[in-house]
Symmetry: none
DNA sequence: TTTACATATTCCCATATAGGAATGTAATGT
DNA sequence: ACATTACATTCCTATATGGGAATATGTAAA
């Protein structure tokens, strides 16, 4: 099998650095495609295609304004990522505090297994794949 | 150009769901490969290859114990991911309060909320193979 | 209508998968 | 030495990708 589609979930979508750059540029304000092209110095078709991927996984929204399409980041779609990585937070905190604890003669605290990420609902975009 | 290598960074490495499962299973304690194979029900070569990817981006560590290789998650390598997604946190918090405000009947002064537009409702996105 | 502008889509293709089978390699046991 | 255990690597292949050029689509202006 090949790699999972970039449109399969937010994890795959943000694996591409330009898409992360696009998301950052659209977090504060919506922008037309051409502005993203100028800002990031990418080709227009390339930006359009990246936006399409982001749109399919719900990471951005669009609305039309005349002949322009205004895109905007939908931060909510990044929460699964933040929460999954957050499951590991105490492990790296542990490492930092372990040195201190050791110096203070404390015993190691409780542990629990990080959650497996449940992909949850995919967008209802893949109706076409049988 | 093709897609970036899975080994190019943590973002690409964790895009694969099995690798995320592996990371979760190794966060708490180190395990030999065979145990991961049993736990996740994957093929041994497959697990070895995933571990190799994770190792290359620093998401796991290894140490040899006799004929076994004991792997362990290095949570620290997930911090960049957590921090990057964290930069968007205030945006989804913003959205949540907006939703709450609406549910509580508070009036929203101006319409700074771009109409939520989701593709795939009107037309089917034909994702055909060429 | 004709033209210009803004964006989306198509075509082409070199590249990196991910899985399974087969095989290689290292360490241990007898 | 030989068999066994535990992993790693190689070979094979269908598939999705991302970029650029060319083209299509859609909307507004002349």
């Amino acid at each position: 099998m090949a790699r999972a589609a970039t449109t399969s979930d937010a994890f795959n979508a943000v694996a591409e650095p330009r898409r992360r750059a696009i998301l950052s540029s659209l977090a504060l304000q919506e922008r037309p495609v051409g502005e993203i092209v100028d800002l990031l110095g990418l080709g227009q078709p390339s930006v359009s295609k990246h936006l399409r991927v982001l749109l399919e996984v719900g990471l951005v929204n669009v609305r039309r304004d005349g002949r322009r399409m205004l895109y905007r980041t939908n931060a909510e779609a990044l929460r699964p990522l933040h929460e999954w990585t957050g499951t590991f937070e105490r492990f790296w905190q542990h490492q930092l505090s372990r040195i201190k604890d050791r110096a203070e003669g404390k015993s190691s605290p409780s542990n629990d297994t990080p959650a497996d990420f449940h992909p949850g609902r995919k967008h209802d975009l893949d109706r076409n794949k049988n």
